[in-house]
Symmetry: D2
Subunit: 359 residues, 4 copies
């Protein structure tokens, strides 16, 4: 067991749950010791309960783990949650009350005032909210909830972060072309996907418009003051397996030249890179110069799926600049986001009380 932190995965049989299992197979700090999912799967081994949809085989370690009910106690030190949003808040709070750190990819708690909506490169100072949770919530010591944003929001917020920091952002128009895996499994029917585009993803436009402003907001005392620029999102599902693409126009608060903007994006690094977190990509943003990049099939795995690739950066006739950004929606946009959050929490001492409890 070698001193690794024992983790449990809620929603383990779903698309994102499978990514957690895959990404944690050889993780240096975390070891999966508990898998939980809905009633239908309970009591089965993971191999029986899970229709593995990722390339390659289900990792050997997970095959014989029994799927348990998603309620405490579970034989683990912290929780990764990828539960469907309905019902997720109650379950996640129950785990936090029982003293588990909950690192959630679910949308349920993202917009709660005292819950950090965390992208380690962007707003690690929002972790101050954990102190608010400690004092105002009835969570047992060590228990808390940290969330990561919606898959498209992560992509957008990462691309905007250095622009917002350096020039200020006053308006954003984003149009997404999102991959099928974002809808989970079975998700989108093939008859709807083939030779088609669906200009609708339930709740997605609202999530992007609200989450982005919280993420780019400032930590002020006990609260996050949301960023104040206006933002418009139109979302489309396209016939791509993995890799969300976003066409972005941005109006800056102060004028900037194309070279400054390119440099702000390309040179962006942050705390996870300084701390050399295991899942952190060397460069969060890769700026490509070819006229026809990024493309999902060619660029989604950049930085092991954790880098956002930006291309077609140029001045815009209506706003100041426009560009296209792409990232892997189930890695940087979901499982990898949560794992990076957990790595940051570990590196910043937020799991200090874990060992005491589990000893």
């Amino acid at each position: 067991m070698s001193g690794k932190i024992r983790v449990g995965i809620l929603g383990a049989t779903g698309t994102v749950g499978q990514r957690f299992v895959q990404m944690l197979e050889h993780h240096p700090q975390f070891q999966v010791t508990a898998l939980a999912a809905s009633d239908r799967s309970e009591g089965k081994t993971y191999a029986q309960a899970c229709q593995w949809r990722l390339a390659g085989d289900l990792p050997e370690f997970a095959k014989s783990l029994r799927v348990q009910a998603p309620k405490p106690p579970l034989p683990c030190d912290l929780i990764f949650s990828s539960l469907p949003s309905a019902g997720a808040q109650a379950v996640e709070e129950e785990f936090a009350r029982a003293g588990y750190p909950v690192i959630s990819n679910s949308s349920a708690c993202r917009m709660l005032d005292d819950v950090p909506l965390l992208i380690p490169e962007v707003n690690h100072e929002h972790l101050r909210l954990l102190e608010v949770q400690r004092t105002s919530r009835s969570f047992a010591p060590g228990g808390f909830i940290v969330t990561n944003p919606n898959c498209s929001t992560i992509l957008l917020a990462l691309a905007l972060a250095p622009l917002h920091a350096r020039f200020g952002v006053s308006a954003v128009v984003v149009t997404t072309l999102q991959a099928l895996s974002g809808a989970g499994y079975p998700g989108v029917a093939s008859l709807d996907a083939t030779d088609n585009v669906i200009p609708f993803i339930a709740g997605e436009e609202e999530k992007i418009e609200s989450e982005t402003l919280k993420i780019l907001g400032r930590s002020k005392g006990d609260a996050i003051e949301a960023a104040r620029f206006s933002i418009s999102a139109q979302c489309h599902r396209v016939n791509v397996s993995d890799g969300h693409l976003a066409a972005v126009r941005v109006k800056l608060a102060r004028s900037a030249g194309l070279d400054e903007v390119r440099d702000a994006l390309a040179s962006f690094t942050s705390l996870p890179q300084e701390l050399r977190l295991h899942t952190a990509p060397e460069r969060p943003l890769l700026v490509r110069e070819e006229p026809d990049r990024p493309q999902p099939r060619l660029d989604r795995d950049a930085g092991h799926g954790m880098s956002v690739t930006i291309g077609r950066l140029m001045p815009d006739r209506v706003f100041d600049f426009r560009f296209v950004a792409l990232s892997h929606n189930t890695i940087r946009g979901a499982a990898g986001a949560a794992i990076l959050n957990a790595e940051l929490l570990a590196a910043t001492g937020h799991f200090a009380s874990l060992r005491a409890r589990t000893a």
Copy 2:
């Protein structure tokens, strides 16, 4: 021959050329009597020269027509041109000089000051430019050039036309998801299309940004005064066979309510509908209320491929309104556009001199 106008098609073996042949097979006013294409095809029958890519068989009448060189004279009364833009201007002007009306889908002459860039429902008054051509060009009597816009521009300009007329438009942001057939044949390599999006179509963003302003411009004396709003286009190729989709945000010159905007779109009809032109759809714009429409596979053939379907119309957080619009790119966006142009020209007496010449 029954009094039909005899037409010749330049670029007859290409994707759009094939649509011309298909759409004109049973046309009440036009009869295809000449097919022309590049050197490689010359002298072959159309059946030999053309790799027919549309569903169904190559129309019987066209099979044994000999493919000729694209230069006058051709045994026809008017010319439909879908030549590649390189070289198209010289060829089209040569035909006009020889007295042929040239109805062109090629991009070569679209932005010339004295050439109408025509969408019959939108700017039929731009046909006044034909008088400019008559006086300033050395075209033989009856010869002139009329063009239709780029496939994505048509879609956008049709959707904007009633808003521009009723409320004024002050800014437009459009993001397109365009079909593979827009690139012709062989066009996009399947390895680039499968499980992928390409965020680049050469020249497309510029065409949309410039052509839209010309189309929505006002005819003033001998010239068209381009519309003055700002417009930003980002274009993507997606894995769809036919049907371009555009996500649009629009800022209006004067404030308007959602119902007014919906009504302006849904009630839009124009001269082609009054004249009951053969290829004119009953309703140029169909406004759907379902949250997930329009979709290429379901809506591209609306109005026999000549209607634009609009959905997801709603207020926008950055601009005033947003919506998604879709149309069939090789019908309303190309061959059908040119044929409708020709029908308007016929109905408005612009082919008056044809019979004299061909008698």
Copy 3:
């Protein structure tokens, strides 16, 4: 009501049910007056209950029809059934007992000894089984059950029929590449379809192997004597919306030349063509000579979706001949098959007692 036969559709909201509604909208003999589906849909209008997945709009006539429970009585004279196979037999027999002719696309009753498994061009003499039903079943007068085969079997049996009749068939190896719509809606998950092939369709290989032999069997007294050749089927789901393709090798009972075989296929017509049944294609089998046909996108709609297109006919190194055959799986392979069956039954006097009952 104009003397049309009133028809009810069981399973009306499914993929095949929608095709029935679409194909019957303007049918000269049948008029849809009843729509039935499972509990969830009951009481809703068809427009509310049905997520229409076919191109174009839901036909106006059907929008306000109330969806009823699939049990007699229904306000119609005959029943088209596209119920899921589980439970279909009981429901269909209940309707037959109540005196309704049941024309079923469901698999439930296909292999029953006294139920015709009918392809009008192939085995119309199997309708003699209806007399067996009349004497041995407790169906009310006018009530009976006729089925059509599985979508892939129809394709294969149609292609084999003239070979079997003229030369005898002694062995068949068939490998199918089947379209997504064959699995219904939502059916195959898009993540399984995109950039993929699934080499498995539950029960399909067995259905092809058994149904084909029954269809090509001889009517002998009260029974059908199944054909006796051996047959092997391997089935694959491919990323195609509509159109099943089958790669076929066939060993004939007596030797034949390539020209004889081609002629047997290309010249094949049968009773539906003689009777000029409304849905019967002019030619059941179209033999194409191009090396790369048939293709689903180009050939599935041949003969309004009712013709089978055959290509790549050539001698085979292991068996005698090989070819590729294609047809539209939800038209010739399902709804169209049942409608053609009903047209044959009408033309051959099997609905004689209808008017009496409904008067």
Copy 4:
């Protein structure tokens, strides 16, 4: 340079050429020192000449290599050739005459009597033909030609090899569903691939039928005596990026039970596994028991793209057994095949004279 063998790649800018560059980036024995391609690319750097179509970036080492003409001398010790078949024979023989070992993926020389058509696991004893080349050809010392089979043939021959060895094979019927990358780049037009199947790949059926018999033939004195069973191939292009799938029926020379057959396949290993060749998979054939495997997206990368995955093994009604087999067409079916061939040649002393020459 660390004692690695210096290799040159002919056809370096093509789909297979790019795979060579990718697979050889970190190879322990080979180092790419020369890239050659057709006239258009000559003199450019590889980064300029090559439109890199594989996921990830073009390997750094290759970017600045100059593309040279495909003729000797080249600054390397051995040649990997993925030239188009037209003209390949002359070029490859020219290199062999100049003393280069030529490891070719091109089809040009495969069926020549004195050229090994090599799959290391299957017919390594065919390397005896190199002695025939040495004595009968005017190749300089060290020069020879070894080929690997067509991408589909490799898959089939690997699956048949243990059955042929243990039970004898008397007839084979194979139907392929082949990936787009097999046609190179740009290869198949996206309009032909989307929502479609193409039942034709030029020359493919003939190659499978002839190459398989040569590969499974016996080395007899100076010649290979082709295997004598009959074989029938039907080939289809499907909308899959990578991964060829083959539906196989096989008749054995002596009767065998299902368990024996499964065991023969699953336990198959050969010389490359004994020699622990770098690119050799641990298990050449993986037999899966799930009813719906193998699938291209899930199984093509098994064994780093070098294992063939077999599923749906069962008795057949016409032949003895049937199964579905899948492998990665540009790895095991092309670049990986050639590299494994080279590794075998290295391990068996066939490059002994290299160092002398290049010293």
